[in-house]
Symmetry: C2
Subunit: 316 residues, 2 copies
Amino acid sequence: MTEQIDLAKAVQMLTQAEDILLICHKNPDGDTLGSAGALLHALQAIGKRTAIFCSDPIADRYDYMQLTLYDGSWEPGFVVAVDVAGTQLFGEPAAKYLKRVDLCIDHHPSNSGYAEATLLDPEAGANAELVYQLIGQMPVEFTPVMADCLYTGVSTDTGCFKFANTTPRTHHIAAELMERGASFVKLNELLFESKSQRRLAIEQIALSHLEYHFDGRCALMYVTREEIENTGADSNDLEGITGIPRMIEGVVVGITMRQLESGSYKVSVRTAGEIDACKICAALGGGGHIRASGCEFFGNLENAKAAVLAEVKKQI
Amino acid sequence: MTEQIDLAKAVQMLTQAEDILLICHKNPDGDTLGSAGALLHALQAIGKRTAIFCSDPIADRYDYMQLTLYDGSWEPGFVVAVDVAGTQLFGEPAAKYLKRVDLCIDHHPSNSGYAEATLLDPEAGANAELVYQLIGQMPVEFTPVMADCLYTGVSTDTGCFKFANTTPRTHHIAAELMERGASFVKLNELLFESKSQRRLAIEQIALSHLEYHFDGRCALMYVTREEIENTGADSNDLEGITGIPRMIEGVVVGITMRQLESGSYKVSVRTAGEIDACKICAALGGGGHIRASGCEFFGNLENAKAAVLAEVKKQI
């Protein structure tokens, strides 16, 4: 059983620790990296040897965070997991630290309590909000690079202040990060106004297959395996396009179908209003949330489409 | 010469006035409508007869603002222009009030001072920030519909807190509007995550013509008149796509060419980093800003492309 601790206790633990390893979750996003990055700079400022460990590579776009990555040249004396809700999110290379996490700093209500001590704030829209408050209690000068790291976490995890997890505190902290030097214009361009060539190529193909059903209340698009391979689109690129059909005015059910290597189709359903995406997908052996669900359909494109649309018809 | 007044004076003028007409700028956006809408509800709450006048139609998407539009059944006793920087923005039907604007409430540094009295805050990212402070000094209870109106103004005019005009105050006010009942999730979906069928159709066609030049540092796409007409895309839809080429990773010059009814091409140039879009367009008889400029090219597509790319080559 983990000990739930408060900010003051976390500060005390960190200031007493030496040789601190900061672990980010696998498939790292702006919040785990920004939270760990700001903490890294704060700990370095009070003279600690510290570095970041992540099981997956970190995208070049985050270079501005000036992260020190763990190179194995020293033995960690204190292990901190940052924005990691459960042990399954460590990934293989980080798994060796699983049994000895001294402190976990997280905002997921589902946090499984795997660490010795846990600083948890489930009210924080982004974990970076919690880390901002933590650093505020440390004897360090707040620097622009810390502000850049934390602004990245706050803005990416809240979908640029659009998602339901955004709170008034999120905005107040964003304001304070701007005052502390976050280069928010540059960051927002990089984080929200940037797409890969591959992503646009697959988007164009998917849109060329866009079709409307049920008086324009349902929009469906698909990409075949061959098209995916021709564009070189990866899973990130493909995940990115699943929100498009639901964005169309009047559409309450948006469907994206992408063919897997096996030939079957992965179906993503996004809904608005009262429509339950999970019901549609559950009927086809899948599941998920009320607004976003998925399922896999074995069979050719026309059969898959017909099956999905038949379920949509029952809900629409 | 207009009299520059402060918040207290503006409140005094409004509370003493009767039969108040609120004028929005032509081609109304979320900020002029949200600012005027919140003011309308505040004035109604203190018992004033008031309504909104705009030279152009107001899109259905703003229905939640519950705007009372001026129906001509009473004679305005006091005329207020809201978020209108200059008289050229009144539009034809509103022009009859030009000579008798009692008060202008605006945030544009370029405000021409056409009103009797002007409440101007050029530091406000959105005019709605100023109106929020104004209503805060009025003896009214702040309602959720006022919060929705002002949140719309604040978020749309700052590109959802991404543009350079966003300030710490913008975020603090957004936080307070959330606390006062702004339904920010619904509003953000409506305002930022919504595209028309026509817009997506023309986007798909433009992307099918996407080409890269200068090692991927320049991306260019175009749409012909026939394509525009086949999709039914209007000027809003077309304006919306001009940002796409510049969003591509590695692209520093993004070009969109759309054919006009005359057959000539309207060229939109968007740049990043050090590249001056205005220099590129000025060489072709156009102009604009450093990051966003435009020009018109008389000639066929291939000639127009070659001419624009030749200018890009000089700057890239």
